[in-house]
Every structure is written in C-alpha cells, then in structure tokens.
Amino acid sequence: MAKSWREWMKELLHLEELITQMRATAARETDSHKAEELSQQIEAFEGRRKNIIKLIFSRLGAWEEVLLARADPRPYTLDYVNAIFTDFLELEGDRRFGTDHAIVAGPANLEGQPVMIVGHQKGRNLNERTFRNFAMAKPEGYRKAIRMFSMAERFRLPVVTFIDTPAADPGVESESRGISEAIAASMLSMFELTVPVVSVVIGEGGSGGAIGIAAANTVLMQEHAIYSVIPPEGCAAILWRDASKGNQAAAALKLTAKSALEMGLIDRILPEPEGGAYANPLEAAETVRAAITGSLQELSKMSPVKLKEHRYAKFRSMGVFSS
C-alpha cells in the first residue's frame, strides 16, 4: 500500500517527466525525419500515459481516494478562488488573538455579485506548508470565519466555503485558546445565517476541522475528495493498534464522495477531469463554478427565514437509527 500520492503515482510521474523531456528534445530537433519519429514516440507514450490513468482511475479504492484527496498538485482553495471569482480581498484577524493562515477569508465577486468566501488553505512547498500550518486551523481561524459569517449576514452576502483540511490544529496552544469552542461556535454562527451558504469539499474533509465551516444549505463534494469523522490512520491505530492499516480503515469509514452521497450527507458530487482535478485545473474549476452558481441560484429563491430553516432541517435529518 502506497503511503503517499507520489509513491503510488511513481510510474506515471516518471512517464510524464519522460514525455516532457522528449517534447523539449523534439522542439530542438531540426531534422524533420527525426522530429517525426520523436513525435510518434511521444504520441505512443501519451497513449500509454492515458491508458495508465484510465487503469488507475478504473479501480480506485477508498485508500486511493485518500491519496488523491491529499495529492499535493491538487488545486487548493485559492486556486479555485482565483479561477472562479474576481476581486477577492482577503481579510484577516480574529480581533481576539491573532491571524491564522490555515483559513483564508474575504469578499469576492462571483459573476459580478459579491459573496463571502471562507476556506482552508494548504501549502505546496515546505515554506508554504509551514505558513499555512498544513491547513490545520487554530481557534483564530474559526473566529475569523465567524467574523466573516457575521458580516455576510449583515451585508446580505451569500457564503461560499471551501473544505480542505486534514484536521483542526490539535496542539497545546490551540487547546488553551479553545479550539473546540471555536469550531462549535463557528458551526453555530453558520446556523444563525439567513443568507445562502454553499460548501465545497475540494480535498480532505477532515473531521471537526472540516465541519466547523461546512454547515451549509448545499454541500458539494468533488469526485476525488474525502470526508471523514477521523483520519483513516488514526482509525486504524485505534481499531487494530496499527496506523499502517489506513487502507482498511479508509474502506471501513466509507469516506468517499460516492458513499457520502449515498448516505444523503452531501447534495451533489462534482465530477473531476480524467486523471483528477490537478490534471486539468481549469476544467475542474469550471465544474465547481457552475455548481456553486447553480446552487446559489436555487437557494436565492428562498426567503431569509426559509434559508435558516432549510439549513436546520437538512442537518436535523441526518442520522440513521430505528425505534
């Protein structure tokens, strides 16, 4: 079992690197015959690449979905914000203690209409990851979110949240400043809203850290995102005292978009381009854009009071039991 997306995709990544190199060589080739030969070779490699992708994506298990959701070239919140919205103006500060770069927030325009954005933000390189704390938000992140929700309410801005976090920050400092209270209060403030709220799970929907900003009227989930009550490794550690059995735990937890939809816990799956969102970020973004716009249009038909009731009823109905 591969531990990371890079390990799992080793062969494919190698092939892609090869193709890139061959393309560079072909560009430099002056002999038209040799260029033709190279071009045919590239085409063959491309074909092989596509076959591999097809094969990989035809037999994705839950663990593979975990790896895909965590893949580092996968588009992150700000990638979608930049692709879909204009004039995003990041606002900072919880007005209590500090600023938290694991959650980004602020108003932006969606097709000329202002909305309020809140989303977890991952980093791509070591510096960015440290700066973003691996998208593990501290209390300050959730309290910033609450401030944004409150502004959205007062200024009648629809809210769009992007979910992509392994978990909330579990450190001593987060505990001491009330990470639990911050998450709960953030959810509570979402339930107060009388404006439309749409959440999109774009990568890792990691337990409390995720639901803290995902109490939406409409919850969308990308095809290869995951949503789980506990990280599969943590689950395996508890169940079998063996964190390496993450793949078994992933399957048991039913953390895929498909399962979430079947259980009625999300509203819609957003299909990703062949090879996943990172294979064609613009296409992925277009799907996300259309889904957000469509959802907001649907929700805008409801009155303010109805929007709040709708959100309540939605989550109120979740739970499977008999009596």
Binding site: I211, M318, G319
Partner: protein, 288 residues
Amino acid sequence: MPDFGAAHWYPQGPMRSGKPSPAGRFVQCQGCKKTLFATDFEANFKVCPYCSHHHRLNWSERIAYTFDEDSFQEMDADLVSSDPLAFPDYKPKHDAARSKTGMEDSVACGIARLIDMPVSVAVSDFHFMGGSMGSVAGEKVTRTLERGCDMRCPVIIFCASGGARMQEGLVSLMQMAKTTAAVERCRSHGIPYISVFTDPTMAGVLASYASVADVILAEPKALVGFAGARVSKQAQVVKAPDDFQQAEWVLRSGMLDRIVERRDMRSTLGELVRMLGAHLRQGAAVVA
C-alpha cells in the same frame, strides 16, 4: 477514540435499575487507592472522602444525584443504532455495551424536575462505548435541546464522551452539526442551556454542543480536551502544563464558568435554572 482508563469500580449488573450496591461491599478509590465502604462511598456521591476523587457515574446515578426524586421521565429510550457503514466489529461491540449497561446507546434523555422546576435533560454515559456520539446520541441530544424550546424550560446536559463514534463514520461527524444547530435554536428561543463537563469530555462532543452552552460547569479534575493529550503534546514547542486538559486548567483557559463539586452540583444547577430561566416561568416576551 483514545482509552481514557478502565472503569474498575463499575458495579455489577445492568445500570438501569440504579439500585444501591449491597451493603458491606468494598470499593477501591481510583485516586488514592484507599479501600472504602461501598455504602459510605455511594452516600458521598461516589466521591472519595480522602482524596476527593470524583469517580465516574453511570447515567442513572447522575440522575439520582441531581434531580428531584423520581421526577425523571426517560424519553426516546427505544432509539437504536443501525450500523450505517456495516463497520467491522461495531455490532458485537455495541451489543456488548448494551448488555453491560442496560442502555440502548450512550445517552439517556428525558424531562425532570430540579428543585421543583421543569428541565429538559440528557446524560451521557461513558460506560457505553466511551460515551461516543453516533446517530442515537446525536438524535437524543438534539431532541433534548428541542424539547427545551418546545416546553420552554431550561436544558441541562451532562457530558461524558470520548468524542464522535468512529464506527458510524461521517454520520457521526454530522451529529456535531446537528446538535449545534439545536443549540442555536435554544439560543434564538431564549432557552438557557447548561452543559456539565464530567470526566472525560472530549473531541467531537467537546467541539459541538458541549462548548456552546450558555453556562458550562465541570466536575473537579475532569479531563476535557479536543485531542488526546498524546496528540496535543506531540511536536509542540509549547510545553503543556502539568494539569493540561484538566478542568482546573480549562477554567484558567477561559472555557469554563465554574468547577463544581458533585455535592454542590444540584444546588448550583438549581440556582442557575431559577435565575436564568426566570423569564420562562414569568412568560415574559422574548426578543429574538
């Protein structure tokens, strides 16, 4: 869900009866390890007279120690989990918990009277699968909060939980949102909601309905935290204090209103309900 320590003193037989243990039986204090007469121990609310260790209670003991005698009417007792994920070993574990505790799931709820005032009540029992919150616990907590709104009476919830119930997967996670939504409903209806953190109150329960109560009380030394202490302390620059995640530390961190000894819990809750719920009894208009 981490292991928060076995319940050595857990009494034999089903809990539902709530009968006192037979006289002459001894128990060992989990704090100071002294041997105590079971009858004295129970007369002292299962608090050690030597070291003041507050031993965990089951739900019926909690009810008996807190609310007016025989005033508790259990509701929704018939809700049973459905194992929505067909999760490995969930069914047998769940069955074992049922037969051990006599409960159908980790929360008991209903209505009761507290010093003659009506209250909507839920009690989480740690002995049932670590008090974890799945669909049934989430539903019962939600109904308890809604009942407060419907009956216009204060809500009291005793928390004792390792967190969300892993075995129900995402359905459990959604109980965090569901119960928190119900707290918001109480808030906008002017219904006072008091939560009590007992040992332990953790993770998905702490990060949802437990922490957004109007008033939060805790029992002395109760373990209260988002992450298991091991996780929190891992790779941290900041050193955790000695009483990290203990109620006393949580109070200093600003997350609690008071630490209340078990013997004072009934009177403290009574005063809160009387004062914060006065407007409900007077039928005063509530401004949303």
